[in-house]
Structure formats: C-alpha cells, structure tokens
C-alpha cells in the first residue's frame, strides 16, 4: 500500500551553470536564470504493508518529523543557491531538487519495513517531476 504526505515550502533560486556565460544561461534557462522563488509542493510516497498491531504502514507523525528535519528546516524560506548545499554548485532545477530530497529522505527508510517509493515535487501547479531513486544522471 502506498501512503503519501504533502508539504509546502517556499524558496528562492536561480538556474545558472557556472561554466556558461550569463548570456548563454539566459538563453538556455530563460526567466529562470534570474533570481526568483516558488511555493514548492512536495508529495512523499511510502510503500509498505500495514502493521497488524497498529494498522499503519508508517507513523505519519514520524514522517512529518522527518520531512520537517530533512526538507522544511534546511529549505523553507531559504535561497537554495546560497544556503542549501549542494546547490552552490549543482543547478537547482526542479529535477535536481527532487533528487536531493530523495537523497536526504532515503536513509530514514532504509531498514526495510517501509520503502521510499516516490518523490513528487511541484515547482508550479503546471510543472512537476516524479523521482523514484533510479539512476538518472
């Protein structure tokens, strides 16, 4: 069974590859090359079997705490490029932010009882990515 918890965080970023000139970055990333922000919506889906005693796949309070610690505290109301490694040298596209969130969350679900199944990250209501931990780079 899958269970999903959603959180929202707000952060600023700009998309720029340090090896390209400013003009080249503007040409490739368009308006995203300029510093701006989003209300990101994160949906984290876990895959597991309900525990016979508790009836729960995972304690949602605990999941809330993990998301608070790994995502909200480091990223909410932050400048991703300036304050949240590795985005000082990795371009904070929605794709790369989803991969980074997966890396931060995965160790909390490595004991086998429940599996991190999917990270869905909306940059706007019209653009999102789904990432399931597959090699993607």
């Amino acid at each position: 069974m899958w269970i999903t918890r959603q959180i929202t965080f707000s952060a600023s970023h700009f998309c720029s590859n340090g090896s390209l000139s400013h003009e080249e970055n503007v040409r490739f990333y368009g308006a995203s090359a300029n510093p701006h922000g989003h209300n990101y919506v994160l949906e984290v889906t876990l895959d597991g079997t309900p525990d016979p005693a508790t009836g729960m796949v995972f304690d949602l309070k605990e999941l809330k705490g993990i998301l608070q610690r790994e995502v909200m505290e480091p990223m909410d109301h932050r400048s991703l490029n300036h304050e949240v490694p590795p985005f000082d040298h990795v371009v904070p596209t929605v794709e790369n932010i989803a991969v980074e969130i997966w890396k931060r969350l995965q160790p909390s679900f490595s004991d086998g009882a429940v599996r991190l199944h999917n990270v869905r990250l909306y940059e706007t209501s019209d653009l999102y990515v789904d990432y399931g931990g597959e090699p993607c780079v």
Partner: protein, 144 residues
C-alpha cells in the same frame, strides 16, 4: 525520472456515432448527444521520461516542449469544434467519435509525429498523456 507539464485548451464536441440510430445515440451518449454540441475547458498533462543532463540539471528543454505542444496540439485543438475542425473526427466514414479517450489518442499521435524532430536523442521520450474533461473525470494514456 518523469517530468509533467500542464496545458489547457477549450473546445466543443458532440458525441454521435453513425454506427447507431438516433435513438441509440441519445440513449448511449445522453446530454453529450445534444445536436448543437457543447464544450469543455480541458486540462492536458504531458509526461516525459528521461535522464537528467548533469551540466544543465534538466531532463528536457521545457521551452522546447512548450513550443512542440503549442504548435502540434494546442494550435489544432484550442477553441475548435472537434467534429468539424479536426479531420480525424470530421470524416463521415467510419466516423471516429471525439470522446476524450479518442482525443487522447489523437494528441499522442500529433506529439509522436513531431517528437523526433524536436527531441532526436534516446531521451526524453513521451511517457503518458492525461486529460481532464471536467474536474470530475480524467483519462490517462500510457504511451510506452
């Protein structure tokens, strides 16, 4: 990784099949068989699958996807009457009914016809199409 981009278009249609009698069409399609047609604000989600380019951090050039969807899909569907304006539905024989299921297949074909000219590499590939006809129903077509 899969990336999904949302688009919107408005169009009218009428569900009426030449395979059935007028009475059968009324019974089968109900209000959707009304003679003068009706319209919807459709929501179209286009999902692509691919790998992330390390230097750009992107799995697809979203602006190029927008241009492809605008030119090959939205330009043909938005503010159109499917039964009259789209050859796929306008031909009298055999008469493909512009249900949202069939519209999804037409959109898939429009995108795949032009995909390789815009995205010539192994990835990104078209993964799925999802259309909301109204807030109460939606249709998904997996293209892989």
């Amino acid at each position: 990784m899969r990336l999904t981009r949302r688009y919107r278009f408005s169009a009218s249609h009428r569900l009426d099949s030449p395979r059935f009698t007028p009475e059968e069409n009324r019974r089968l399609y109900g209000k959707c068989n009304n003679p003068y047609g009706h319209g919807h604000n459709y929501t179209l989600d286009v999902s692509v699958r691919g790998t992330v380019d390390f230097s750009t951090g992107r799995l697809i050039d979203v602006a190029a996807l927008d241009r492809l969807v605008r030119s090959s899909v939205l330009a043909r569907l938005d503010h159109k009457n499917f039964n009259i304006d789209l050859p796929e539905f306008a031909s009298a024989v055999p008469g493909i009914v512009p249900t949202t299921e069939n519209i999804a297949a037409v959109i898939r074909d429009f995108l795949q016809q032009n995909w390789r000219s815009v995205f010539p590499n192994v990835t990104p590939i078209l993964d799925r199409i999802r259309i909301e006809e109204t807030n109460h129903n939606f249709f998904e077509l997996h293209t892989l």
